[in-house]
């Protein structure tokens, strides 16, 4: 069954909100890793450098998630307005077919309603395209996250006494990146489903 676009848009906003929370967790992980790397000294210089990348990545993801969130919430609102305009338009068309004594007097309101419907559906198309582009962008972040996760694993292995702790952090980064990827792909799947 086709899903109303306002439901989809709201669901996408929810997915991106989750992604943002994960990214916030990632930023915290980066902070902990940096503290640890500072204490560990020279053996973890590589790891410490990586934490800056993680930090940057986390704030990129947060910024982007918030942006997509805003876009999808706006989209959901527009879709509700469009649904209302569509509902009214359907009723008006039904009235139009009846040749009522004063049916003609509805003409202006009908035109406004049809124009609004047209305008809203264009905005909606534009918004959906924007969402698609943004989700694609999000995938780039995920690829970066995977690279960082791999490098942190490598760095962790040469960190001597701190190896175990850094490995936990590296695993944490991998897991978080996976979570975010999942939210993004759910969002994309939602966007690609059949809509009314």
């Amino acid at each position: 069954m086709p899903t109303p676009i306002f439901v989809t848009a709201a669901s996408i906003a929810a997915e991106l909100h989750q992604a943002m929370l994960e990214a916030k967790g990632l930023a915290l992980t980066a902070k902990n890793a940096r503290a640890l790397a500072v204490r560990a000294g020279s053996k973890t210089v590589g790891f410490k450098a990586i934490t800056h990348f993680i930090d940057e990545l986390a704030s990129d993801i947060i910024r982007q998630s918030q942006y997509i969130n805003g876009v999808s919430e706006g989209l959901s609102q527009q879709a509700v307005s469009l649904w209302r305009a569509n509902t009214a338009a359907d009723k008006f068309q039904w009235i139009e077919r009846q040749q009522l004594a004063h049916g003609e007097s509805l003409r202006n309101a009908m035109r406004t309603c049809y124009d609004e419907r047209e305008h809203l559906s264009q905005m909606l198309t534009r918004g959906i395209r924007e969402l698609e582009a943004q989700l694609e962008e999000g995938d780039k972040h995920i690829r970066t996250a995977n690279l960082i996760a791999t490098s942190s694993k490598v760095e962790a292995s040469s960190a001597g006494d701190f190896r175990a702790q850094l490995e936990v952090i590296a695993a944490n980064i991998t897991a978080t990146a996976n979570q975010i990827r999942q939210h993004l792909s759910t969002a994309r799947r939602l966007l690609n489903q059949k809509h009314t």
């Binding site: 209302r84 009723k91 009522l100 004063h102 007097s105 509805l106 406004t112």
Partner: protein, 244 residues
């Protein structure tokens, strides 16, 4: 949607819409009214979202949209005014008269173009075309902010949920026998109406009006002799029973 002209004198008219045979099951049958005078008309309790299309169609048989200048919502219930978001698209220049108490609630039905004109607690007299109509306070009957509409020229009182009876769409337009009709009203009034004090205040108020027809939002209408009988019956009826 059926339309019945219940009063006509020149261009001054009361039309009752309702008894819709195509209404979906499970929604309460409602009476909508339109008062027309000169080049202005007011829809009283225009109804739920489900009724919008049949109502608009029925109304446009009598007046063009630019003459539907006023809407009235006696209170905030969905069967009264949940169609507002669609009327808003059809009548962008109309004014909605409704209790001040409910403005921020009724706006939830969607209202971008229509203007909300809050009725103060004590009521209001409004010019409509060549006549004057009065918004009569009926607070707590059943809604805590609630008005009825009295037209002193036509001598019609639109009484909202007061006098309501739950009946089928094939019920006659007017009450013919009070003894047979009161059982159809008792439960509704006892449960929906919360305050005996408010009830007595309203009965006192309405006894001072000259009412030829009392027109409720559900069920049959009352002619003069039955209005008197109704007031006596309602006066004696204990209401607000759910807490006992």
């Amino acid at each position: 949607m059926q339309a019945n002209i219940i009063y006509e004198d020149g261009d001054h008219r009361w039309i009752m819409f309702g008894r819709d045979p195509n209404k979906s099951d499970g929604i309460i049958d409602t009476n909508q009214y339109m008062i027309q005078s000169g080049d202005q008309a007011m829809l009283l309790d225009p109804g739920g979202i489900e009724l919008f299309a049949p109502m608009l169609s029925a109304v446009l048989k009598f007046v063009p949209t630019d003459q539907i200048t006023h809407l009235f919502a006696s209170h905030q219930d969905p069967d009264i005014i949940s169609s507002l978001g669609l009327w808003d698209q059809a009548l962008p220049n109309a004014k909605l008269y409704s209790p001040w108490l409910w403005e921020s609630f009724i706006r939830h039905f969607g209202m971008e173009r229509i203007q909300y004109c809050p009725i103060p607690d004590e009521g209001l007299t409004l010019g409509l075309g060549r006549i004057q109509v009065q918004f009569i306070p009926a607070h707590y009957l059943h809604s805590s902010g609630n008005f009825h509409v009295y037209d002193p020229k036509a001598k019609i009182l639109m009484s909202g949920d007061v006098g309501a009876a739950l009946e089928g769409t094939d019920a006659p337009l007017f009450v013919d026998n009070m003894a047979a009709h009161t059982p159809k009203m008792r439960k509704f009034h006892q449960r929906w109406m919360p305050s005996n004090e408010a009830k007595l205040d309203w009965v006192r108020r309405v006894r001072q009006l000259d009412v030829n027809v009392m027109a409720p939002q559900h069920g049959r209408l009352f002619q003069k002799q039955h209005v008197t009988e109704f007031l006596n019956w309602f006066e004696e009826l204990p209401v607000g029973i759910a807490i006992r």
